[in-house]
Amino acid sequence: MDIAHSAQKPSPGEPPVVSVQDVSITYRTTFEKVPTLKSAIVRLGRGERAVHVVEALKGVSFDVTRGSSVGIIGANGAGKSTLMRAIAGVLPPSSGRVEVRGRISALLALGVGFNSALTGRENVILGGLASGLSRKEVVARAEEVAAFAEIGEFIDVPVRTYSSGMYQRLAFSVSVHMDPDILLIDEALSAGDASFKVKANAKMAELMKSARAMFLVSHSLNAVREMCDDALWIHKGKLMMHDTPDACIKAYTKFLEVGENAFTLEDL
């Protein structure tokens, strides 16, 4: 599926749709998984430092023009999801600047299951309202979302009863039906079956006609190669390369020293 083929072209002199300018994200995190007042007092008694600093992104800069579909590749913990969250405005940069033109629909780390006790429909409506759509718009879309996700009457059943495939199909369906200008997809399609993947790819191709840009985080290098016309390779918070998907994948796999065999293409 050649998505890039159907994409819009930027008009001359048009500012980039997404501009990431020397962005660093540093956050301090506590030692314990669950911070409590008790542990804070205990720590104070021992004279320990409460936090350690995580540098998730270091001085990342790039521009994305209209009509691009950008694949983001890199090892676990490289900062791919952090970058997506920065573009979505969920994680503010510690330094630098992110400029985004248009409405974002984010599909970050399976973002639909806000409340597993609620039904699929309620989750869809909540997600749409949170992303700034009006109630009317969201209710009208809920049917469409359910139909595309092929979950049938399960739309009115609590999300906790869903299989992981249903869950991901619904999550994907929600984000592509919110009329996004910019679509962020984080590892969305790993659980969908083959036929849904075909359908999803077709939908993304259709979206690229109207959307301004798409970002796809994936460990499947094949998916990036097929669906993207631009790629970023991130390693330990640094932008290593911003080039065509082929060039980035080649450099990345070489970096990993495993070579481009079929195993790598599917599972890295």
């Binding site: 048009e14 007042l37 033109r101 806000f114």
Partner: protein, 288 residues
């Protein structure tokens, strides 16, 4: 901000570090207002999800504070050696207790609103104050069904009616604004100290005892001296609950101090709570 000719109808979002901590207030509150439907839906679906798990559902919302009121009623009767004070005392007790339950409910659900909304906060960009405010809305809709019960007790106790009682709505307003503030405050604390919500029940129990709920403002005239004078100033619920009960039950106009202290506490708590929340909210994502 430069915009191209093709980018007509859309927003340009700029994300930059905020050194001062507090985001620009006007756009923030505009965003908050624009997504009020989300807060309402969030609260509604929360109520629906909770109601499906109990057989009693709505009925339980009324039964719970009413049973609590009866327990305290008997407690008072025991402590006073059999003098329960009859229905007027029970009406007084329920009036105060129902409003207190609203504030305490806002506190407990507000405290867990951010930490409990993990996925939403990790994945969506919206003004986070919506979460504690939605919690207050939930507590409010749990409070509303108790009002008819209060009116019924009012009737049974033989208390009169007067136009001044309508003014009690002002104290309900104080309570709502105050609850929004304290919910935001506790939501912030809960992110940093996850045991906040474990301390809350003890805290609110003590708060219940020092507020004019189990005792009436006019009971204590001339008693406890300085302590009560301090309580009157430092305990927000002294004015808010006290004023509400005095007006709604007895039709007695509260003192000017009660009016002023209630308003001051409501505004101060709202401003402090929401500013603290807003100054920390960008940190929430990495701490969940």
């Amino acid at each position: 901000m430069a915009r191209s000719a093709t980018d007509t109808a859309d927003e340009v979002h700029v994300y930059e570090p905020h050194r001062a901590g507090i985001p620009p207030l006007v756009p923030y509150f505009r965003g908050l207002w624009a997504r009020r439907e989300f807060a309402a839906e969030f609260s509604k679906s929360g109520i629906r999800a909770a109601n499906t798990q109990t057989v009693f559902g709505q009925l339980w919302l009324v039964l719970n504070p009413l049973l609590l009121a009866l327990v305290y009623y008997f407690l008072i009767a025991v402590l006073r050696g059999g003098d329960s004070g009859g229905l007027p005392r029970l009406a007084n007790l329920t009036g105060g207790l129902f409003l207190f339950t609203f504030v305490a409910g806002s506190m407990s659900s507000g405290a867990s609103s951010v930490t409990g909304g993990g996925r939403l906060i990790m994945n969506m960009n919206f003004p986070r104050l919506l979460m504690p405010f939605a919690a207050v809305r939930t507590a409010w809709f749990r409070f509303l069904p108790t009002l008819p019960v209060y009116v019924l007790l009012h009737l049974l106790s033989g208390a009169g009616w007067s136009w001044t009682m309508l003014l009690s709505v002002v104290f309900l307003g104080y309570a709502v604004v105050f609850a929004m503030g304290i919910a935001a405050l506790l939501a912030t604390l809960q992110v940093y100290f996850r045991d906040t919500s474990s301390f809350l029940p003890y805290f609110s129990r003590i708060w219940l005892y020092v507020s004019p709920i189990l005792w009436a403002v006019h009971d204590t005239a001339g008693q406890f001296g300085t302590l009560m004078a301090i309580n009157r100033i430092v305990n927000p619920l002294y004015s808010i609950v006290g004023g509400w009960v005095e007006l709604s039950l007895n039709g007695v106009m509260p003192s000017p101090t009660t009016w002023v202290m209630g308003a001051v506490w409501a505004v101060v708590m709202f401003v402090v709570g929401s500013l603290l929340f807003m100054s920390r909210e960008r940190d929430f994502t990495v701490r969940l």
